[in-house]
Amino acid sequence: MIEMTNITKFYDNFRALNNINLKVEKGEIIGLLGPNGAGKTTAMRILTCFIPATSGSVSVAGYDVFEDSLEVRRRLGYLPETPPLYPEMTVGSYLNFIGELRELPAGKRRERINYVAERIGLADWLNRVIGTLSKGYRQRVGLAQALLHNPEVLILDEPTVGLDPSQIIEIRGLVKDLARDHTIILSTHILPEVSMTCGRVVIINEGEIVAVDSVANLEKAAAGKPAWNICIRPAAGKDWRQLVEKHAGAAISDLVEMPETHHFKLNLEKAEDFDDLFRNLTGAGHVLREITPVKATLEDVFLKLTSAEERKEAA
C-alpha cells in the first residue's frame, strides 16, 4: 500500500531523514515511534505530499507522491500535528467544507458527516463554533476531517494528544476498528498506545529507522535474562540469601530491607532454576509474599535503541 524507498530529507544542511525504507501492507497499523525531532512528522509530511523528499521515492496505492500527487492526495486522510481548523466556523460547516474539498457529492457528504460525527462522538456538537471547543474536541474534529472521505490510507500525527484518558481509550478503539478497511500510520511518543493499537512498530531516531518489528518481538529481543520482583518475609534467624545465591547467575539487586519484609529484584541464568529456589525458600520457612516476572516493555526497547544511538553519536 505504501512504499518508501531510500528517502532522505535535508532542511538546508540539517539531515532530518536518512535513507528510510519502509513497506506497509494494506490493513496494517504502523506506529511511528521516536523522541522529539526524530523525523516522524517529516516522514508523514513527505507521505502526504506536503513537502518533497530530497532523494528517494514514495508510492501510495501504486501512485508516486511526486508524479501523481493528486491521486495520492485523493486516497489519503491526514491529521497533522496541529489539527487544521478554522476557529470561526462551526463543526458542521467545517466538515461540509472538507467534504467539498474531498469531492464528495452533496448527498453523500451529509451522510458521511453524520456517520463520522456519530463515530467520533461529535453528533451533538455540529452547531458549535470550533473556536469555543476544548482541546480534546478540537482533536476529534481534526480526526473527523481525516476520516470524512473514507480514505484508503490514514496518516495520524499524534492523534491522542490532548485527550483525557477515557477519550484516549475511545480513539484507540476507533483506530483499531478503522484498521479493518484502512491502512493506518500513526506517530506518537506515548508508548502504551503503540503496544495497544499497532501491529508493527517503526522506531526512528535522528532520522534513521533503528527497528521495525511487532511489539511482541521487540519486547522479546530486549528481555535478556529472566528476572523477577520478589517480596519475601524471612523466617526468624535464617538467612535467605545463601539459598538464592547458590543458583547459577543469581544476582540480587534493588534490595530494600523493611522490618518485616525484604524486597528485591532477582536475575537467574535459567528460568527453570526458579522452581527449585521457590521450594528451598518455602521449605526453610521463608514466606514469599509477592513474585512478579519482569518483562521488558516497549519503554525498555525504546530507551535501549534510542540511547544506544546517542552513545554511538557521542563516541
Binding site: F50, I51, R74, P84, Y86, P87, M89, Q145
Partner: protein
C-alpha cells in the same frame, strides 16, 4: 467546484470577523462625505471627483481585506490541510481571489446610489463617464486584490502582507510621475505601468481596450505569481 468551496469559505470568514464590516462602514462613510462636500462646493453634477477619491480610499482599504487571505492559513497551519487535499494551488488562489473580488463588487455596488441621486435631480447629467468610471473601478479592484493576494502568500504575518501590498500599490499608483521627470523611453515605460493614469482615462469616459487589457494582464500576473509562491512553499 472546489474553487467554489474555497470561495464560499472565504466569504463566510470575511463576515465572521469584524474586518469586512469595519472596512465597509469606513469606506461608505468617507465616500458619502466626499460626495456631499464635492457636490456642495462645486455645484456640478459630476461623479468624476468622487470616483477618483474613492479609488484612493480603496487603495488604502484593499490591503486590509487581502492581508489575511493566505497568511492566516499559514499561521494557523491550515495550509497543510489545503495543500494535502486534492486541490491545486491555482484553485486555492482562484477561490480566494473570487471571494475577495465578490466582496469588493458588493462594496462598489453600495455607492451606486450617488449617480442615481445625481441623475434624478440634475437636468443634464451624462451617464457615459459614470458607466466607464465604474468599469474602471471594477478593473482597478481586481488589480488591487490580486497584488494583495500575492503579498499575502509571502508571509504568515498579516501586517507584513498588508504593508507589502500597500507599498506595491502606491508605487504602481505614482509610476506616472516619471513621465514628467524623464522625457524619454524610460519615463514612457514607467508611465505606462501607472495604474492611476489608466484609471483616470476611464473617469474621463474613455474605455480604451489597451487599458482594459492592461488591468486584466496585471491581475493575472499577480495571481500567477501568488500560485507559484504557494507551490514553491512545498519545495522548501
Amino acid at each position: 467546484m472546489k474553487i467554489l468551496a474555497i470561495m464560499k469559505k472565504e466569504l463566510q470568514s470575511f463576515f465572521y470577523s469584524p474586518v469586512a464590516y469595519i472596512v465597509f462602514a469606513s469606506f461608505l462613510m468617507i465616500v458619502g462625505y466626499l460626495f456631499w462636500v464635492i457636490l456642495i462646493s462645486s455645484r456640478m453634477a459630476s461623479l468624476e471627483p468622487m470616483l477618483y477619491n474613492a479609488a484612493f480610499i480603496l487603495l488604502l482599504a484593499s490591503p486590509v481585506l487581502t492581508m489575511r487571505l493566505v497568511s492566516e492559513e499559514k499561521k494557523s497551519r491550515t495550509i497543510e490541510l489545503l495543500l494535502t487535499s486534492p486541490i491545486s494551488p491555482a484553485e486555492i488562489i482562484a477561490g480566494k481571489f473570487l471571494a475577495c473580488f465578490t466582496l469588493y463588487l458588493v462594496l462598489i455596488l453600495l455607492t451606486v446610489q450617488y449617480p442615481l441621486v445625481l441623475s434624478a435631480y440634475s437636468t443634464e447629467f451624462d451617464m457615459g463617464p459614470v458607466y466607464s468610471g465604474y468599469i474602471g473601478l471594477v478593473l482597478l479592484g481586481a488589480a488591487f486584490i490580486s497584488m494583495g493576494l500575492f503579498a499575502s502568500t509571502l508571509t504568515e504575518n498579516q501586517i507584513i502582507a498588508a504593508m507589502v501590498s500597500f507599498g506595491g500599490l502606491v508605487l504602481f499608483w505614482i509610476f506616472g510621475w516619471a513621465k514628467h521627470a524623464f522625457d524619454n523611453a524610460f519615463g514612457q515605460i514607467l508611465g505606462n505601468l501607472s495604474i492611476f493614469d489608466r484609471y483616470a482615462e476611464f473617469l474621463r469616459g474613455i474605455v480604451d481596450s489597451g487599458n482594459v487589457i492592461f488591468f486584466v494582464v496585471f491581475t493575472l500576473t499577480w495571481l500567477f505569481l501568488a500560485t507559484r509562491v504557494l507551490e514553491s512553499d512545498r519545495w522548501r
